[in-house]
Amino acid sequence: MISTAGKKDTERIKSVQEFQGKQAYSRSKFYSDKVRVSVGAGTCGLANGAADVLAGLRDEVGTSGLDFLVRQTGCIGYCQVEPVVDVLAPGLPRVFYHYMSAGKARQLVRAIAEGDFHPDWALGRLSRDQLLVRSERDFSSKPNGLSTVPKLEELPFYKAQLKIALRNCGFIDPHDIEEYIATGGYSALAQVLASIDPEDIIDLVEKSGLRGRGGGGFLTARKWRACRQAHGYPKYVLCNGDEGDPGAFMDRSIMEGNPHAILEGMTIGAYAIGSDSGYVYVRLEYPLAVENLQIAIEQARAYGLLGPNILGTDFSFDVEISRGAGAFVCGESTALMASIEGYSGEPRAKHIHTSEKGLFGQPTNLNNVETWANVPVIVNEGAQWFARIGGEHSKGTKVFSVVGKVKNTGLVEVPMGVTLRDIIYDICGGVPDGRAFKGVQTGGPSGGCLPESLLDLPVDFERLVEAGSMMGSGGMIVMDDHSCVVELARYFTEFLTRESCGKCTACREGIVRMLEILEQITCGKAVREDMDLLDELCCYVKDNSICGLGKSAANPTLSTVKYYRDEYLAHIEQRRCPAGVCRELTKFVVIPDRCKACGRCVKTCPVKAVRGREKVAHTIDQDKCVRCGACREVCPFDSIAVA
């Protein structure tokens, strides 16, 4: 951890002019004549062994006595290929290396010292410094000996991406405010404080068309204006970092890899609204995000970019971190505020908007992490630039975390309006192992499951809701034909029974009863009438719950019933799970014509239920079989099927 205390160059920046000096200084430091080697050490990188790589690098640089800078950055989004190491050397494009290990990292450092950049290990070279509009350096036409390395921005994974919210993730050291300043950070704030009126900022955000990235897609400027116009002091500015959807991690990546962008966005928002204090609400499960944000806040305070009289102006604003205790419902605005106040996270009816009476009964503006991270770019690049990106009513980009059955999992930031097919097939490489695509769950437990027929649906706020799903915070879970949609609905519904706060009857009792029916279906104990009761319950829970958790809780069930009704009926009427997932309803058999008697299933079966000899088609002993499906997964000839 880098401490700001006692550092020589952490004097307060006392004016906007001084800030420009600091910017020039930070740039010269970032693009120095030293080689800068960094490791992607976000949670995803660390899970893949980035800590070892980092230790190896540090040790090698130390023992070889090389004058290299070793830094850690956030995640570049390509989680599939972690650990990632990148090298920024003077006069050369930035090179990214994938699948690194401590040993490879040591070798790489030694090789670079001798001028060999190991093109064979490289993932790609970055001609511009970021995948954003502006760049200090441009090596597009000057590969400088690295022409065998593909351009990072031309890799299928990055080609269609446009990184606004994720602009610095994986490119700068989140522990060093100067790297953020060097890449254009805080220049929007400086510009705002020097020359823009609060009302004009709200107009600017309005013209940009920015909508809340937390799920609802409410117009950000309208929210800000309501809060600015509300009577009362103090006013609060909050950041929602309680990303609770299973399989979603875009906010985490921003908080870990680019925390200053959030702080800068919040400070600009606070100036526009007329607030002087704020909170970042982060879920407990994100310790690294909390750590990086805390460091960022301390550094921003030391540099005079947070706290009293920011950049020597009359404007003061400070931020504190509030840690959640691990409840999904605390992502809901009123529950989040109750949680910050120290009460248990329970929502209340929002007949009075939180912009009038929110945190501690004061006017409050809450935006999601990604929304805040977009704000500085809108100020810097202008509303028109931003409004040109995306679709008709959904402007800008959206970050999606694509997980499940795709070749390239990771974070994808694309202009809104691109199709699901673009994201799942072109960027993420489609479904692996030659399987068929079955569906994609967008928006986590509050969203819906969309079938193959909707793959050409443009992804924006309205179209997803029309299709029975929602944007949510941007999680996408891709399923292949070995996934059962009834089981999917059951899984998310069970998640919601645990995560509902339990305040209102509709959500607490309704979802539990929905789960009971779904469990009956997956066990083969349901009758046709249960489908009607399930439908009745879904509509009831949707209409009668207090907050968004309950109102959207039926989406996974409603959407799967809508698009995969046959599969539900197969469970109920034929007592059969076509995907081979629901154990009570599944029977695996060997198709003798296809079986080559290779014996892989025999070796894999954990209960020795598969019997077979050489050159004789294998058989499965149904009495022993536990329906785990392991044999089906290993069979190279697709000879194991669901009866």
């Binding site: 209340r348 009857t505 509709a506 009971e516």
Partner: protein, 264 residues
């Protein structure tokens, strides 16, 4: 005919209830207005002594304002200009019935719930009782009364979702419970059990046992010592409490009245 509800503080606003145009002070709770008008609205989690909570969902109405129509609980809905409220549309009836059915399936043997269910046209719930939760329907009245009105905060909700229940901290004997019995009085289902045994008040549901004070006249234990202490504390020097039970107090009063009568 326009009924006018008098107001001192807030301005009157025009609103429509079941097609009837009325003027009513702004920001009043819709449920209060409906009940005053004599419109029958079922509710289990509402009590005039505490703030609205919106948990039981029985008081739903269909609200319309401008082009928006939505189902909402009336207890936490505030009256605004141009608000149109309908209390017996098919969707309101459907919602109330389902809420009632779900509540009843939690505690199917509670008579008060059975009666309310019958009024709403709900028969035997289609869902079986699954977990042993006594008679509690999590309306939160006891929690709110104990916290906001009594100021003891002896009980609260614990757990979330289906694991939610009301209890004392860690389920241990409460240190702050005074034995006032307000929770027992407001509970709509009779979930909170208590009895007197050997000069002690046992609030079984809260695992709490409180020493009682004997009536100085008849010698029967009549109230929890802590409650007397707490009330005395609130009264301060303004008054003193006699340690006499209500029965004996009534007798004393009658005696005094009789004596006074004879003197006249």
């Amino acid at each position: 005919m326009i009924a006018v509800f008098e107001s001192k503080k807030m301005p009157l606003v025009k609103t429509v209830v079941n097609g009837k145009h009325i003027e009513v002070e702004r920001d009043r709770w819709a449920l209060d207005v409906l009940l005053e008008m004599g419109v029958a609205v079922p509710t289990l989690c509402h009590h005039p002594a505490v703030e609205p909570y919106g948990a039981c969902r029985l008081c739903v109405v269909e609200a319309r304002k401008g082009k928006w129509t939505w189902l909402t609980t009336s207890c936490d809905l505030q009256i605004r200009e141009g608000l149109n409220i309908e209390t017996d549309t098919p969707s309101v009836i459907r919602s109330r019935r389902m809420s009632m059915e779900l509540i009843l399936s939690r505690a199917p043997h509670v008579e008060s719930l059975q009666r309310l269910a019958a009024d709403l046209g709900v028969g035997r719930p289609r869902f079986g009782p699954h977990y042993d939760i006594g008679k509690c329907i999590l309306c939160g009245l006891c929690v709110r009364v104990c916290d906001r009105l009594i100021g003891a905060s002896a009980i609260s909700f614990v757990g979330r979702g289906r694991r939610r229940s009301v209890t004392t901290p860690f389920g241990a004997a409460s240190e702050s419970c005074t034995g006032c019995g307000a929770c027992i009085a407001v509970c709509p289902t009779g979930h909170i059990r208590s009895f007197v045994e050997e000069s002690a008040l046992n609030i079984e549901t809260w695992n709490t046992r409180l020493e009682m004070i004997d009536c100085k006249v008849c010698g029967t234990p009549f109230t929890a010592a802590k409650l007397l202490e707490s009330v005395q504390g609130r009264l301060g020097k303004g008054g003193s409490l006699e340690r006499v039970c209500s029965k004996c107090r009534r007798l004393q009063m009658c005696k005094r009245l009789g004596e006074a009568f004879h003197q006249v």
